[in-house]
Amino acid sequence: MASLAAFGRSICPTSPLFPAPACGNLGSLLRPVRHHGSGEAAGEAVLQVDNRCSDQVLDFPGGKVMFVPEMRFLPGSPNERINCYRVLDENGQTISGSRFQEVSKEVAIKMYSDMVTLQIMDTVFYEAQRQGRISFYLTSNGEEAINVASAAALTMDDIVFPQYREPGVLLWRGFTLQEFANQCFGNKLDYGKGRQMPIHYGSSRLNYFTVSSPIATQIPHAVGAAYSLKMDGKNACTITYFGDGGTSEGDFHAALNFAAVMESPVIFFCRNNGWAISTPTAEQFRSDGAVVRGQAYGIHSIRIDGNDALAVYSAVHAAREMAVHDCRPVLVEALTYRAGHHSTSDDSTKYRSTDEIQHWKTARDPVSRFRNWVEGNGWWSEAAEVEHRSSTRKELLQAIQVAERAEKPPLSELFTDVYDRVPSNLWEQEKSLRETIKKHPKDYPSDVPV
């Protein structure tokens, strides 16, 4: 009742939430103005508002709103698109005046070499799928900087809720080539016990939640987990990755709103790569990308060049500071391009031009751009490049052989983990399945130990 009464009044209630006095529109109205405005202009606006009578201001729950006589609709899209933060130009030179987070030699070299490793993984696993050795694969081509540089800006205590095109984050954290291969071959060493398709990696050791195919479901999980970090007073945040397509799911919207309201320390990392399978972003949304949606939900948001490793690193570094120290969500929209097909089940030349693909593969390649910068610092050389590529390739081919030869997980694992313990219906089903296998051994793959 009390709040209803307050609703209709033009004078501020004197609750702690609305602490303004008398002609009272100072408190909650002025603070945001100062915050967003810059210098003088903001000061003037403040004064003007201050001089008006309270009947020109709607004392609305959630903050005061000014009345205006003109009828004016907000435009559906702003006249100018939101700018994009960038540090390195196409040649890998730092743009003059750009501000970015320092990267040590050691970190820079690891960043670059992990980006190359990711490229090699993509080439070799893709090939293995084409040869029928694994059933499926999906590359991160063109998104190497996003993968590796964002991971580099986090700490190992930060928790990752991936979509599926971010294996470089796991690589950065120390997932070995053997571990990647084990998952893709679904052998007994795969942590997922061969139950999911290739590329559905996960590792509790590395704080990386297991990939799940349904789009966008991980986004609200990251918000809940971040709230837990906050409640536990941890010096950590969560980060969740998703594509431009993912921003259309209800989960995305629910997650942003929850994060803002619950003040969860989460980084929403949108990889806007222009395509969701065959659907271009023009058929996905008409907002100026994802960045403005963050703002609409009351979340600090930034748009960055996703093919610029230093911009990605710096933005995520800053976002992490805000998330952890100010306890608030942050949204990062990285503009990039899915330079490969959606997956091994897709042929993207059916729906986009090869010129477009070629342009992004060459002129805008994030890996060579970062290489130029690292080399420019005298931290990398052609010799190092050749050595890293050949040793990584060798190591990966070896890992694949090992993974391929390893046994599949045993039959008993078919029934575990449905619940914490195997319930009686599954015991019975296992018993009956074993009898069937005895009778018809030829019906079953010989590489699964029974």
Partner: protein
């Protein structure tokens, strides 16, 4: 190897499906002027006809403009244009919610959900289960027939495919059978798919049409090029038999068919029934058959517990109690998530069915 295994299994299915089914006179007649095509082409033909015969018909979903990930919508965009055939944003609840509104205004809204796995309720937060269950299914009832969304048809690929793992293999049909107000239809072959899909599109009730994705390319059958419909809520007796009744739907029919052939070699005569529409289902046909054979086996890919086989089994136990000579057998998927490397173990295979046929007949 998993892949080799998939190919072997595919081979088995292919041979059966390509042989086709002996079916009712109606389709038999129709088949005469048909050309052999696969299941996705049959769906594609039905969609062409639906758009062609009704200017108020629309086809939309994720990635359907370039033909869809299973090629079912190839050529529709070029022929009918972007206002009737379009890509949607990646949002299943949006697709179905939009389709309900469109249908409620007297249109035929033919919506595609890219995989049946992405229609699910509780495993995922945002799927259109609420939209389907609370909106589509109750639209007519809750308004006292002031409004309806009968023009709604949701098409979605379902079931095993040899390498789909958890999220590209599931059979969620029983969830929707628990929702009065919807029709749930699953075809077993190209000819059936075309006729049943056109019936769903033109039926004055919202329907979900599950397409067996394993058969998209593999099942080849003569399909009449003209516009024809097959009746909903009518099961089809595919083989007459006297010893046991076998009931299934969709891709599982070809596995049941193989088991029938094997059983016949051992002198067991099976009556094979394709249920085709799961709700409202054709109990009379199944009952009549069980009265004759005294035995029933139901088979589906979805987990056995709470699957639609349970409903059939309970209904028949009620109505044919005195006539049953053995417990109703259910050969279904295991009560686990759909497991990639264990797919063959999970599946209700021919030999599992054959063993159960023998056990039931010799009860």
């Amino acid at each position: 190897m998993a892949t080799a295994m998939a190919v072997r299994a595919l081979g088995k299915r292919a041979s059966i499906a390509a042989r086709g089914f002996s079916s009712s006179c109606e389709t038999e007649k129709a088949a005469k002027d048909g050309k052999p095509i696969n299941l996705f082409s049959a769906i594609n033909q039905a969609l062409h006809i639906a758009l062609d015969t009704d200017p108020r018909a629309y086809v939309f979903g994720e990635d359907i403009r370039f033909g869809g990930v299973f090629r079912c919508t190839t050529g529709l965009f070029d022929r009918f244009g972007r206002s009737r055939v379009f890509n949607t944003p990646l949002c299943e609840q949006g697709i179905v919610g939009f389709a309900i509104g469109l249908a409620a205004m007297g249109n035929r809204a033919i919506a595609e959900i890219q995989f049946a796995d992405y229609i699910y309720p509780a495993f995922d937060q945002a799927f259109p289960f609420n939209v389907i269950v609370n909106e589509a299914a109750k639209f007519r009832y809750r308004s006292g027939n002031e409004f309806n969304c009968g023009g709604l048809t949701i098409r979605t690929p379902y079931g095993a495919v040899g390498h789909g793992g958890h999220y590209h293999s599931q059979s969620p049909e029983s969830f929707f059978c628990h929702v009065p107000g919807l029709k749930v239809v699953i075809p077993r072959s190209p000819r059936q798919a075309k006729g049943l899909l056109l019936s769903c599109i033109r039926d004055p009730n919202p329907s979900i049409f599950f397409e067996p994705k394993w058969l998209y390319r593999l099942a080849v059958e003569e399909v009449p090029e003209h516009d024809y419909m097959l009746p909903l809520s009518e099961a089809e007796v595919i083989h007459q038999g006297s010893d046991i009744t076998l009931v299934g739907w969709g891709a599982q029919l070809s596995v049941l068919e193989q088991a029938c052939v094997e059983a016949a070699k051992e002198g067991i005569s099976c009556e094979l029934i394709d249920l085709r529409t799961l709700i409202p289902w054709d109990k009379e046909t199944v009952e009549a058959s069980v009265r004759k054979t005294g035995k029933l086996l139901v088979s589906h890919e979805a987990p056995v517990t709470g699957g639609f086989g349970a409903e059939i089994s309970a209904s028949i136990a009620e109505s044919c109690f005195l006539r049953l000579e053995a417990p109703v057998a259910r050969i279904c998927g295991l009560d686990t998530p759909f497991p990639l490397v264990y797919e063959q173990f999970y599946m209700p295979t021919k030999n599992k069915i054959l063993d159960a046929i023998k056990a039931t007949v010799n009860y």
